[in-house]
C-alpha cells in the first residue's frame, strides 16, 4: 500500500489537533506516514502512532528553522521523490497552504486547497463562495496535494506501527532567502484554540467594545472567543480572533454570533458550523437567515442572564 504523507503541524513538538484529523483521512488513501520537521520528536511520535501513523519521518529542523515556508516545501518534495506517495496532506493554515503551493510547482502536481472531506478515491469536497456552494474535485496530474481545513474529520485512535525513520533533507540556499528575523509567540488566552474549538462564541460591533458578556458566556460553555472584522477594526480585540474571509474559518459544533449582522465575508468563515445561534437586537439582521435558533434582543442583557443560568445548571 502506498504511503500518504501528512505534514505534522506542531508547536515545539506539541502536535496540533488538525494533524490527527489528517491521519484519520489519510487512512482512506493509503498508509499514513507523518512528516515531523523539528526537534524533540518523542512525544509527537507517540501521539502520531496512536492516531494511526504507520511511519514517522523525522527531519531535523536545524536547517529549516528560521526561514519562511520554502525549506519545508523542499523537505516534502524530497520525500515525495523518495516515497512516491498516494497523496500529500497538509493542514489548511496560511503556512500550510503556501508550503502546498510551492510543493505543487516543485513536483508538477495538482493542488486542492481547503478541502473539508476526502473520499477513498481521492475526490475532495470544498465549500466555496462563502459556503454557498459545494465543489467536488480531484487532482488529475502528479501527486495529489491537498490542504484540509481544521475540524473536517473526527480524529480516530488506531495504533499504527509508528516506525521512525530519520530523513536528511538538503536545503538549497535559495530556499533560505526569506529569513525570520524575530518571532513573538502569541499569548494564550487560556481558552480553546479558535479553529479547533467545539463551541465558538463571537462578538461584533454590537458589543460596543465591551467583550465581557461574550467572554463570560463563552467560559460558561467552555468555548473559544471570536469576533467580526468590525470589532477587530475598532481595536476591541486582536486580529487573531477575527472570523471570516480574511480571518479564521471555523466549523464548530456550535457557533453563537452576538451583535454581528452576518455580512457575506463573515459568513465565509462560519457558515459550515453545525449549529448556528445568534443574538441580535435587529430582527431583520441577515444572520437570522442562517440560524437554528435566534434571540432578538440586547446581548448586554441576554448573555449575562444566560451565563448565570448555565452556571447555575452546571452547579
Amino acid at each position: 500500500m502506498s504511503e500518504v504523507l501528512v505534514l505534522v503541524d506542531h508547536v515545539d513538538g506539541a502536535v496540533r489537533k488538525p494533524t490527527l484529523e489528517l491521519l484519520t483521512l489519510a487512512k482512506r488513501l493509503g498508509a499514513p506516514a507523518a512528516v515531523f520537521i523539528g526537534a524533540s520528536p518523542d512525544d509527537a511520535v507517540a501521539q502520531l502512532k496512536k492516531y494511526g501513523a504507520e511511519k514517522v519521518y523525522v527531519v531535523d529542523d536545524a536547517e529549516t528553522k528560521g526561514y519562511l515556508v520554502a525549506p519545508k516545501a523542499e523537505v516534502l518534495a524530497q520525500l515525495v521523490e523518495k516515497t512516491s506517495p498516494a497523496a500529500v496532506l497538509v493542514v489548511s493554515t496560511a503556512e500550510g497552504k503556501e508550503i502546498a503551493g510551492r510543493l505543487a510547482i516543485k513536483t508538477g502536481s495538482g493542488l486542492i486547497t481547503d478541502a473539508v472531506e476526502i473520499d477513498d478515491d481521492g475526490t475532495t469536497t470544498q465549500s466555496v463562495f462563502a459556503g454557498s456552494y459545494t465543489v467536488k474535485a480531484k487532482v488529475t496530474t502528479g501527486t495529489p496535494i491537498i490542504t484540509v481545513k481544521p475540524n473536517s474529520a473526527t480524529p480516530q485512535e488506531g495504533e499504527g506501527k509508528g516506525e521512525v525513520e530519520q530523513f536528511a533533507a538538503t536545503i538549497s540556499d535559495s530556499a533560505k532567502k526569506a529569513k525570520i528575523v524575530a518571532s513573538q509567540p502569541r499569548k494564550s488566552s487560556g481558552r480553546p484554540e479558535l479553529t479547533e474549538a467545539a463551541i465558538v462564541v463571537s462578538g461584533g460591533r454590537g458589543t460596543g467594545g465591551d467583550f465581557e458578556p461574550i467572554e463570560g458566556f463563552a467560559d460558561s460553555l467552555g468555548a473559544a472567543v471570536g469576533a467580526s472584522r468590525a470589532a477587530v477594526d475598532s481595536g476591541w480585540i486582536p486580529h487573531a480572533f477575527q472570523i471570516g474571509q480574511t480571518g479564521k474559518t471555523v466549523s464548530p459544533q456550535l457557533y453563537v454570533a452576538n451583535g454581528i449582522s452576518g455580512a457575506i465575508q463573515h459568513r465565509a468563515g462560519m457558515q459550515t458550523s453545525k449549529t448556528i445561534v445568534a443574538v441580535n437586537k435587529d430582527d431583520e439582521a441577515p444572520i437570522f437567515e442562517l440560524v437554528d435558533f435566534g434571540v432578538v434582543g440586547d446581548l448586554k442583557t441576554v448573555l449575562p442572564a444566560a451565563t448565570e443560568e448555565i452556571t447555575k445548571r452546571k452547579g
Binding site: V69, I99, G110, Y133, G142, A178
Partner: protein, 263 residues
Amino acid sequence: MNIVVCVKYVPDATADRTFESDHTVDRQGVPGLLSELDEYAVEQALQLKEKREGEDVEITALCVGPASAEEAVRKALQMGADKGVLVADDAIAGSDAVGTSAVLAGAVQHIGGVDVIMCGMASTDGAMSVVPAMLAERLDLPQVTLASKVESQGDQFRIQRDGDTSTEVIGATAPLVLSVTDQSGEARYPSFKGIMAAKKKPLETWSLSDIGVDAGDLGLSAAWSEVADTEARPPRSQGEIVTDEDGSGAEALVGFLASKKFI
C-alpha cells in the same frame, strides 16, 4: 525600482455567484470587479513609491483574465499605478492555480527587471492564498507574504506576518514576492484627478504568444485538478426565532442549548 502589482478580476462577492455547466465560474451573470483584497496590494505599492520620492519607481498593474478584466486593471490605474498589462487569451480560460501562476510568472519575466511583485493575500473568489508562493517558487525569488506591515530601505525589505501561533518579522532582499493582508492599511479611493489621469495611461493586452508561454499547458483541459461537480448548498431551514422580553430570551436560549446537549 520596478513594481508589478498582481490584480485579479473577480465576480462581485456580494452578488449571487454561480458556476457554468463546465464548473467554471459564471463571469457573465455577475458583475466583475477588482478583487477587493488586491486594492490593499495596490495601496502598498503606491506607498512604496511615495516613500521613495526622488527615486525612479514605476508600478505596473498585471492581471490574467478575460477581456472584461480590463476594468480591474483600469481601477488600479485610477488608484495611481503607472501602467497596466492584461494577459488575455482564450487558452487560459478555466486554468487552475498552477496554470494561472505560470502565466503570471511568464508575464513578469516578459516585463523584465522587476524588483517587487506585490500581491493580495487571497482572491475573493478562489481564495486559495497560494499564487504568491507559487510565483516565488517559479521565479526562484524570496517570498515575504501575508504582510500586515511593510518596511523597506534600498533593496532590504522587512515585513510583519501575523501567523497562526506567533507574529514574525521576515526579512529578505529584492527582487522578491510580497503579499499584503487587509491589515496593512486602508486602500485609497480613486480621486477625480486619478480617474481622469488613468484614461491616458498605457494599458496593453498581451496574448500567451506575446509572453512566450505555451498554450498547451493551460486552460480547463490541461488543468492538473478537475472539478467533478458544483452544487448550491441547500439553504439552511429557517430556525426558531424568539424575541426577548424580560429575560425570556435568555431562558429560551439556555433551553435550546440544553436540548442540543451543549450544556
